[in-house]
Amino acid sequence: MKYKDYYGILGVERSAAAEDIKKAYRKLARKYHPDVSSDPKGEEKFKEVAEAYETLKNPEKRAAYDQLGSYPPGQDFQPPPDWGKQFGDSQFSSGDIDLADLFAGLAAGRHRAGPGAGHMRMPGQDYEVTATIALEEAYRGTDVELNLTVPEHDEKGRLHRVPRTFKVRIPKGATEGQRLRLAGRGGKGLNGARDGDLYLNIALHPHPLFRVSGHDLYLDLPLAPWEAVLGASVEVPTLGGPVRLKVPPDTHAGQQLRLSRRGLPKPNGKEGDLFAIAQIVVPAATSERERELFSQLAAASTFNPRGHFQQEVKSES
């Protein structure tokens, strides 16, 4: 069994008062709780902090933890002889288990010794996990394999962390932040209680062309100056394959051209839209002939793109 320094995780001395342990936990929970923290590693850190506090906030568990001794974090160790019996679990067996499961085992051991022993109904644990998929996968629907280490009870009702692989079908309708519930795919319920659920949080990999807002997609549409002025029929990529888009004459930069129902499918069977955002692109290198034509255009045109400057800024004179 690997040692975990619960005091170190909470940043308190081994002699810390219960109130100081609570304060340290609250401070770290505020910092790392996955529902309030923007730290991408917050969830992992919070799990450590919550595990440490779960043991140290309880005087009995804290005493049992202190009796284990003190080792460098991660070092293999064995609890002293009779440690389990001393703390209420005569069937205690340390084996190759996680320290958190050891303390959960102590609590379970006391329940086993209590009235109604062995028949307590306990719903299975819910699991939550993030699946990051490509935009194309969200469009078509996809299968993902999720590898989780989850706590499970053995035949004696003891908790062990075991690796499990979940194969999950993500149907069409996914977008960033969308949640799926897979009923009964969480931990097993005890003594006939219901199994837990698996909650899947969908995240999308950034796409080189499309940007996502809900189920709508945005695409930059570069246009040559003459295409913007004269109008054009251009081919644009969509997740369902290329389509032709009619660019109307006098299209200006930033204008959004909507391709109805070419966005991501929604769970209710509808579809989001694809918006092509016009960008006027000037050729990097022009030939002599092209420059000559631009010069003729400059001479013939009365267009002043900065005409509004004079109207908006009042002269001092």
Partner: protein, 108 residues
């Protein structure tokens, strides 16, 4: 061990849960869920009739509220206030994300 592919349900406005089901899945009792409704954390789809029915999104909200209650030792009112503020933050983040998506890539 590999499990067979499991069917999944999107937790959106299109999926509905009865009050009793919401209680079973969220970690709150029905009485506590009624408190959360009183405090405005979630609103039933049919507030004036019985039994109450909630959208799939409400399950996410009340599960979050339950996690916060346990982690920060909150009462239902404190948890309701916290999820209301988190909802506002998520709405603002979604609006920001939408505006960013509309900016041409080279100006983002």
């Amino acid at each position: 061990m590999k499990a067979e592919p499991a069917e999944a349900v999107w937790l959106t406005e299109d999926h509905e849960f009865a009050l009793a089901e919401l209680a079973e899945l969220s970690g709150w009792s029905e009485a506590e869920l009624r408190e959360l409704v009183d405090y405005g954390a979630v609103t039933p789809l049919n507030p004036d009739s019985s039994p109450w029915v909630f959208s799939g999104k409400c399950l996410l909200t009340v599960r979050t509220a339950c996690r916060l209650r346990i982690s920060f030792d909150l009462d239902p009112h404190g948890a309701a206030l916290m999820v209301a503020l988190l909802d506002r933050i998520h709405d603002l983040e979604a609006q920001l994300g939408s505006l960013r998506a509309q900016l041409p890539r080279h100006t983002r």
